[in-house]
Amino acid sequence: MLTRRSLMGGIAGAGLAAGAHAQGAKELTILAHPVMLSVSKGSRAGDITEAWRQRTGFNVTWVTLETNALHERLFREASLAATTIDIAFLVNARAVPRIAGLFQPLDPWMAKAPIEQYDDIFPGLRKAMVFDGKTMGVPFRHSTSGLHYNAELFAERGISGPPATLEEFIETAQKMTYKRADGSQVNGFCISGDTYPNIVDVARMLNGDFIDAGMKVVANEAPMVKAITLLRDFYKAGVLPRSFTTVKDEDVNTWMASGRAAMTINGLSRTQFYNDPAKSKFPGAFKVAPVPVAAALRGQFEVAPVKTEFWSMVMPKNATKKEVAWSLIAELASKEATTKAAINGNGPIRASAYEDPRIQAQLPYAKVEASALRYARIPLPAFDNSAKAADIFVEQMQAAVLGMKEPQAAMDDVVKRVQPLVV
């Protein structure tokens, strides 16, 4: 018969056994955005952790979350006495001085077991992860924007190629807003309306910014105001989806792949998703081009200075398997892993990757990406209150696009409220 004593004993024994198993398990946990998982285990170049797993006998557990949820979980985990997260990915805009103390400085590990040709990694990315002279993260991925368009839909409207200037882009977006023969509606342009980076991309066609590199809030200057006005006009004319303010980045993929939108500005590697026969109604029809710049700026830029964002690998200070974690970080940042991840759709963080014949042969957007990278810059400099500043910008942008406020008044409000947050 089951007695209270035997029940309590059983529970205690099971707890001890589970604890012992957890202690002894050869398991490493990575907290990442879903895209990191897909480029690390892609079908084209295979699993980039496989050789490391075989060598060390460790398994890798991927915990994936969307950008905001990922950082919130990471910062909470890293604030505890101990965490089960061994490696995490951190986007540049969230790598701010206030949270640097939560992560392990990597210089001692770097000295002990160096990363292969670390200097080959783009210097801007490496330097952005140095706080108080200490390296807090190793870059893994950049995402640089390009113009994606559905060539099949373009052909239906008699358009033979991508727009070369902002003015042509506006004309094309308007023309591409139409009803197809089967009655389905096509929106000429679609971007996420609940985050700031895509809006910055539109402003970059006019060389505009939200906050410039000198930490000045410039959202109420002409380029950004013109960009917001353009989006408002697009919204009124039905060029942008009716649900623009609730469209998320993942939704944009669906809009494009299902042919409900003709153009978007997004990370260049997304073209692989749009052209995937398993996920797209128009496999092979999606092409990429550099984001066009306003005709008046053609003398200054060949293509728009689009946004480039990058993700780095960090080790929480309270992680327990740092030596093993470092060996995986070094593996993932190696030349071969960088190239293989790029073939799987990653934005390579090494200059040498673009010279690799495998990448040139397999990535249709490598040339476009290389041209965009000549001018690209981050969408927002990192500072402690960047998340709050971004939310204020999104709030005012939405108010302007929906017609609740004039674009100039909305952006004046952004400057007034965000400048005190920037230090």
Partner: protein
């Protein structure tokens, strides 16, 4: 066992200690945290009532509170009326009663996230099946991605849909417990159905109504997932509710002290909102003491 014996105290002590450990101490910690400035990887610094001052001076807090109060009142009382109607209908007898009860209870078995995502898809302004059906009938769609009123309306509909089973089951079981003789006696005395409802059903059902309303006010005041998954507080922060405001303050902006202060204010808010019902419940309990 003598009256002065310590034995009764020792017997209830484990429960009291458990309550103190899982509710009392964390509550005290939150109250203390509300008096500090604290963030990720930063030791709390005493700031007194500054967090309360900051929150109470923020117009977004008041907008979130206003949205919450409107939604809570509409949802709780609307749901009560609806649940009461369904419960009366069921108690009066419906065909396939067991199957119908299962249908009414089904939303409680669905995960909140799944429920909101399905509703979001059904009501999508461009391709949602319900939007298309309304269009086909010549009716206007619910433009929740643009209009804050429509968005909060949809939040309310989803919330009622998800929690109706809770209120329904409380009222329905209460109705079944009313002795049939009371209704028979009333009918002999010539009472109309409305008088029966007013003089028998409602007074006897009042304890169940009190429990339903109190719990639903507390649940609804914490409403988060419907708004987060549907609009994330947009457009332009116009549909933010207090729980969302707390989440953003604490976890996106890393202001734990401010978030703790909002938590304390939420507790006071739901207490104020339910004080009428609490007083009524208290009087009911001790009316014959």
């Amino acid at each position: 066992m003598s009256r002065g014996s310590a034995t009764p105290w020792l017997l209830v002590a484990p429960t009291q200690l458990l309550l103190l450990g899982v509710i009392g101490l964390p509550s005290l910690y939150v109250m203390w945290l509300a008096l500090t400035q604290s963030s990720y990887g930063q030791a709390p610094v005493w700031v007194g009532l500054q967090n309360y001052r900051t929150v109470l001076a923020d117009p977004y807090f008041w907008r979130a509170l206003w949205n919450t109060l409107i939604v809570v009142n509409v949802v709780v009382y609307g749901e009560l009326v609806l649940a009461m109607g369904i419960a009366v209908l069921f108690a009066g007898g419906v065909p396939l009663r067991r199957a119908m009860i299962a249908v009414v209870l089904a939303p409680y078995a669905v995960s909140e996230v799944v429920a909101v995502m399905v509703w979001r898809y059904l009501m999508e302004p461009d391709i949602g099946p319900i939007t298309h059906a309304l269009e086909a009938l010549g009716l206007p769609g619910l433009d929740w991605s643009v209009s804050p009123v429509a968005a909060l309306g949809l939040v309310g509909i989803i919330n009622v849909w998800m929690h109706l089973p809770f209120t329904f089951i409380l009222l329905y079981t209460g109705l079944l417990a009313i002795p049939a003789e009371l209704y028979e006696a009333a009918r002999i005395d010539g009472a109309s159905p409305w008088t029966e409802f007013r003089r028998i059903t409602l007074p006897v059902l009042m304890p169940s109504i009190l429990v339903a309303v109190l719990f639903r006010i507390i649940f609804a005041f914490r409403m988060f997932s419907e708004v987060w998954l549907l609009t994330q507080g947009g457009p332009a922060r116009s549909t933010e509710v207090v729980a969302l405001y707390l989440y953003l303050t604490g976890f996106r902006y890393g202001d734990f002290g401010g978030a703790a202060a909002i938590g304390v204010l939420m507790l006071l808010g739901s207490l104020l909102l339910s004080v009428f019902w609490l007083r009524r419940a208290y009087r009911g309990m001790f009316a014959h003491a």
